[in-house]
Symmetry: C2
């Protein structure tokens, strides 16, 4: 079998085949391809203007690592800080922290570590009651909350996450299927905050596939956590990703077409009709929420109630 | 193996298993179930008010036959006429006409037969140029046009078609994927016309599945055309229906949830933003269109150009 040649430089041994684009690259040209695409996404959506001092949420996985490494490579002057949230998942969290420490040290990027244990509640402890069978839901809520609070307390204007095209399409499919327009309108590359209690949220990998992120860390020779979170077993998010790939196999380009339709056609319509959600201050922690008590504080209270006694967040609330 | 009992009357030998509802019925109770559901759909969407004198487009297949038989059974006083369009597809069209004649005679319903051949162009003749590989597209255009014109010329207020839930979901999936909002907003159980050049379009089977329609004609003992149109081979509409069923297998209730989300959540939003399309009179035939010459007249002209000479529709137009 002849060696595959790089589509750009013609060198033999093109290891990275970008399947949706049907093109193969050697290591060097793949990195160039990925970083040019990342730069183009950042500029297209005006991300530089809303992330002057970003806090990059780093899990140790391929996506968030690609976001951090990619941003530092493409915009070396960007003042980047990394945040690692120790979720307290035995084994998995320690391994993730080791990998995160390694990459931030290599890049010379400051690392902030936030431990849920220090606030008394790890993710396994939070996944109780109706969240027992869906720990990913409560884990997502906690992470979003912690990212935002840590960013604002430390004076960052924005939180950068590694959400990529596959993540977005998977959730979009679910939201469109169920007609959850209020949530669909928030699935976008940049979500502006209020500058006070809500940091901007920026997704520089919005147009990258899982495959593209994986190839990038591989081509760069960067270690990432390859094992899955032990709590993810049976999560709907996994079976939905499988379904999306099955649809893609039948309709090549499905994910890209659908994402483009969302951004170019639906978002403008949804924005016009739905407008911005009305936010108020959480009665417990003071951070923005659409209900009386934010979902983070409600989760904390559930744990406390199960333990019996101890008061959540510093202030007890009813109902 | 014990015989399956009817969920309603308890009789043994319940032959009809409505898979999405996980319930089985005997012949008599299935007919009752189907006709009650049909009545409920007709009343829910206010269809009786917009089809005082409907023209039911009858192809001889399970869906349009179910629509005609169902409407006559549930609303015996409704003044119904059937329209059969002879598409001129060798073998298939003759067989369809035989079946259509039989059911309308049995029901005592007046049958109007419109032959494309009389206007000089059958569907196989129209499926030329860019329609050579997608005859279903041009066939749909021609049928919509003929239904509307025949209805108005004969003084009917509405055209009734057999479009069911599966048809709608299949097209919706495609429109949502591609962000074709202007077309998605027209996918609804009732599309009002203008009373002059555009008849109302009514879909009483909007909430029925393929399975439900098939069972209905079977339970009623009515003959329908079971063979597929010979031109449908390789049509995208078929592979899309297969895909939808594969998704349904992974996400039970997918079709019903998606259709409900479309009707309850998306349609109100899309209507608000998109409004009604601007229609003008076709320069050739005078019937409503969004462009200068309607797609029917353009198709006719293509055939004429291929034959060389003869003028389409009675009036020659440029470009």
């Amino acid at each position: 079998m002849p060696a595959i040649r790089c589509a750009r430089c013609g060198a033999e041994g093109a290891r990275y085949h970008v399947s949706f684009a049907r093109v193969s690259f050697c290591d060097k040209c793949y990195i160039r391809y990925y970083e040019r695409k990342l730069r183009s996404t950042v500029l297209k959506y005006g991300m530089l203007k809303v992330m002057r001092r970003p806090l990059v949420a780093l899990s140790g996985g391929k996506d968030s690592t690609s976001a951090l490494v990619g941003l530092k490579s493409v915009f070396p002057d960007l003042e980047v800080t990394a945040l690692y949230i120790d979720l307290g998942i035995p084994g998995y969290s320690e391994e993730s922290e080791r990998v995160v420490r390694k990459v931030t040290e290599e890049l010379g990027v400051e690392l902030v570590v936030h431990r849920l244990r220090d606030e008394g509640r790890t993710v396994p402890e939070l996944a109780v009651g109706r969240f027992k069978r869906k720990p990913c839901a409560i884990c997502g809520t906690v992470k979003r909350y912690v990212m935002n609070r840590v960013a604002l307390e430390r004076g960052h204007d924005s939180v950068v996450t590694g959400h990529n095209l596959d993540d977005t399409v998977e959730v979009l499919f679910e939201l469109y299927r169920r007609g959850q327009l209020e949530e669909a309108v928030r699935l976008r590359p940049v979500l502006l905050g209020d500058g006070v209690k809500l940091a901007n949220r920026v997704k520089p990998l919005f147009e990258m596939t899982d495959e593209e992120d994986l190839y990038y860390v591989d081509a760069k020779g960067i270690e990432v956590v390859e094992s899955w979170c032990p709590l993810v077993r049976g999560a709907k998010t996994v079976s939905r990703k499988v379904l999306i790939h099955e649809i893609e196999a039948k309709i090549p380009g499905f994910r890209h077409t659908f994402l483009k339709a969302h951004v170019k056609r639906y978002l403008p319509v949804l924005e016009k009709v739905l407008g911005q959600p009305v936010l108020r201050e959480c009665a417990v922690c003071g951070y923005p929420t659409t209900s009386e008590v934010c979902s983070y504080c409600r989760a904390m209270r559930r744990v406390v109630l199960q333990r019996g006694g101890e008061v959540a967040g510093g202030k007890a609330t009813g109902g």
